[in-house]
């Protein structure tokens, strides 16, 4: 950075409208070549705005500071990689596709930093197996589940593990949308052959969020051929999707079939123990002392996904650092009160009754009635157990909501726990209801 740029910014702050310097001028970088100055802007919008609105002021100040007239132009780029080699992986201009190799793997996403639990153990085991024997064990490996549960983490872990064993391996991690954009740009800039050759020459292809290919027929066609070439060449493909691919609309049946050729493994929302473990693990990484009871408090209330747990931990850490207070249960309750209140509001006994009644095709009133037939009593017990697990209501409060006393609720909770351990179907029903309520 040239030494006249900072003084120029200061002068412009006194000359131009407040805030405009911060939005348009400060993000620029300056390259100086004698009396010619090139300003590098993040994108076309900034280039146009500066060119139209601020160029004269910038040129005047730079000339004054340089002590002689300078010429100034502006283009897209940054000092490290000027003009057109922005980090956007759109494959436009002349960026070689090889630049997408390896570099996009996040080194912090490894199997070591992945917290295993019942909800993700299968996906982790399959991922480790694939990384040990790429192209041979399960090909393709498809990991599916909702957002924020660790699919991308596992995908990067596979890439990093393969790279650790084979540093020369050609590994590409790319989001399906980026892949689509690269393909569109390749067509636009007549680089289709280069695009095809690149993706058909990799050793491991990690494609995130393939659900974004739904409805994009040309991309699906291209991906279909790439897929076949890689599989035929025993190259590893790993895919993630937000649902089981056969449930995807607007996805070619041939692709649906191929995506599930190898192994498809789900990642479920983490159970309580895993959520606690995730929180404790992340706290350790951040160097935060998080007592187990606080982790339990947060994990009991925030159940949907790992990122929200992370957000809660960040908030606790920030508040603790700023106030100098230790993280205790009381502190956490106060600090996260807005967040926890939101979760508490989301699930009520009424919403549980409604969800359970719909699931078992009963009337809501049946759940609070005196009927004791199994077709009513079992759903009622499940509703009570869900109410105990997902709300902050006490046994007597739950009992009152179902026209029963607290001992009936206590019995229902124990009974449901026994049934879940003994009967897979009931366990699945319970987890489905729980998922529906949480999401």
């Amino acid at each position: 950075m040239d030494d006249i740029w900072e003084p120029c910014l200061k002068r412009l702050e006194n000359e131009l409208d407040t805030g405009e310097v911060g939005t348009w001028i400060r993000p620029l970088r300056m390259l100086r070549n004698g009396a010619h100055i090139t300003l590098l802007a993040p994108n076309r919008v900034v280039v146009e705005r500066v060119r139209d609105g601020y160029m004269n002021a910038v040129r005047r100040q730079l000339s004054l500071l340089a002590g002689y007239d300078v010429s100034v132009d502006i283009t897209i780029g940054n000092a490290a990689a000027p003009a057109g080699s922005s980090a956007d992986t759109s494959g436009n201009d002349g960026t070689p596709f090889d630049s997408y190799l390896k570099g996009r793997l996040n080194p912090t996403y490894t199997f070591t930093s992945f917290v295993e639990g019942k909800s993700n153990s299968q996906a982790r085991a399959a991922s480790e197996l694939v990384s040990a024997n790429p192209g041979t064990s399960y090909n393709p490996l498809l990991i599916y589940g909702e957002s924020g549960l660790g699919k991308t983490h596992l995908m990067h872990s596979i890439g990093n593990a393969i790279l650790a064993r084979q540093p020369d391996a050609r590994i590409v991690y790319v989001g399906a949308e980026q892949w689509f954009n690269q393909m569109v740009s390749a067509i636009r800039y007549a680089r289709q052959t280069e695009f095809k050759n690149f993706y058909r020459s990799v050793d491991t292809l990690l494609i995130d969020d393939i659900h974004f290919l739904a409805g994009k027929e040309h991309s699906q066609e291209e991906f279909f051929h790439t897929f076949n070439v890689l599989i035929d060449g025993h190259k590893q493909i790993v895919l993630t999707c937000d649902r089981y691919p056969r449930e995807l609309n607007q996805l070619d049946d041939r692709l649906k079939s191929r995506f599930t050729w190898g192994l498809s493994v789900p990642i479920e929302p983490p159970d309580l123990e895993t959520r606690v473990a995730i929180l404790l693990n992340k706290a350790e990484v951040l160097g935060v002392h998080l007592p187990r009871e606080v982790a339990m408090l947060v994990a009991q209330r925030i159940r949907t996904n790992v990122r929200e747990l992370e957000g809660a931990l960040h908030r606790l850490n920030a508040s603790s650092k700023l106030t100098g207070q230790q993280i205790t249960e009381e502190f956490a309750r106060f600090c996260l009160r807005d967040m926890l209140a939101t979760y508490d509001r989301q699930i009520s006994i009424d919403s549980i009754k409604k969800c359970v009644a719909e699931h078992y095709k009963l009337r809501i009133a049946d759940l609070s009635s005196k009927r004791r037939t199994r077709s009513v009593a079992r759903p009622r017990q499940i509703a009570m157990a869900l109410a105990k697990e997902l709300t902050q209501h006490s046994y007597p409060e739950i009992g009152e909501a179902f026209n029963k006393d607290h001992t009936t609720v206590l019995h229902a909770c124990r009974k449901v726990q026994e049934l879940r351990e003994a009967d897979v179907q009931i366990n699945e029903e319970y987890e489905t209801l729980q998922r529906n309520l949480i999401s």
């Binding site: 407040t18 911060g22 400060r26 993000p27 922005s86 980090a87 929200e308 908030r315 920030a318």
Partner: protein, 257 residues
């Protein structure tokens, strides 16, 4: 009683005393932390200052219009720049084409995230930027008029979960004391002496959003220079009476917020 006598008292002076033409200089001071009244938002302000020092985590700040989100974000970006971090202020209201190219910045302050609700292309651009910054261990602060719950209805799940992973801060409205503090900080920055009773009067008689109050202060500043008169309660009454409604907000001070 009320405003009428004050106007009458001022009128003779306005007629007999020639108006002094103020210099054509506007108040151009860039938003910084010294002109932001923390009030009940002290913890949020401290957290954002910490982020401006390059210490994470990335944050999501939400609050209704007029609570100072734009001011805070611009102040953070400026402070971070002064500390040697490559930083930028990026209002999403500029549209999807304005988003690419910030991946290598060490701190990006992203304003008006509510614009992503119902705009899938903008939501995707934001998602990509957040991922790129996170991959590089860089930071971002995102501000939105809508909280996470409100945004969730209009944005994709993967963007929602990434926002939820941030340290989330709700900006609370300023109390009377906070508004008074805000006014006095702004007045002080302009070199304008504003007595506490005068600040109280403005807080009691004007809409309770900082943008309107600050815009009023700008108007009063100009009027007091023109009239070569201190800003007193009678002077304010007269000035307000001459206005044809609530003064417009100063874009310079409040930006998109």
């Amino acid at each position: 009683m009320g405003e009428q006598p004050a106007v009458q008292r001022l009128q003779p002076q306005a007629v007999n005393t020639p108006l002094q033409l103020p210099l054509g200089v506007r108040w151009l001071r860039a938003p910084d932390f010294s002109t932001f009244a923390p009030d009940d938002n002290a913890e949020t302000v401290a957290a954002l200052r910490d982020t401006a020092a390059g210490n994470g985590p990335s944050s999501f700040v939400h609050g209704a219009s007029g609570r100072g989100k734009t001011h805070l974000l611009q102040a953070v970006a400026r402070l971070a720049h002064g500390r040697g971090l490559r930083s930028a202020y990026l209002p999403l209201s500029l549209g999807v084409d304005a988003v690419p190219g910030y991946e290598d910045f060490e701190l990006v302050c992203i304003d008006a995230a509510e614009a992503t609700a119902g705009d899938p292309a903008l939501a995707l651009a934001l998602l990509r930027l957040m991922d790129a910054l996170t991959d590089r261990a860089h930071h971002f602060i995102i501000a939105s008029q809508l909280g996470l719950d409100g945004l969730h209805r209009g944005i994709r799940d993967d963007l929602y979960t990434r926002l939820a992973a941030c340290s989330v801060h709700a900006l609370k409205p300023l109390s009377d004391g906070g508004l008074r503090d805000a006014l006095q900080r702004q007045a002080h920055a302009r070199g304008l002496a504003l007595q506490p009773t005068v600040a109280d009067y403005l807080v009691r008689h004007l809409p309770r959003d900082a943008g309107t109050l600050v815009a009023t202060l700008d108007g009063l500043d100009q009027a007091s220079l023109s009239a070569a008169h201190r800003v007193t309660i009678p002077f304010i009454r007269a000035w307000l009476a001459r206005q044809t409604g609530v003064p417009g907000r100063s874009s310079a001070q409040t930006g998109s917020d």
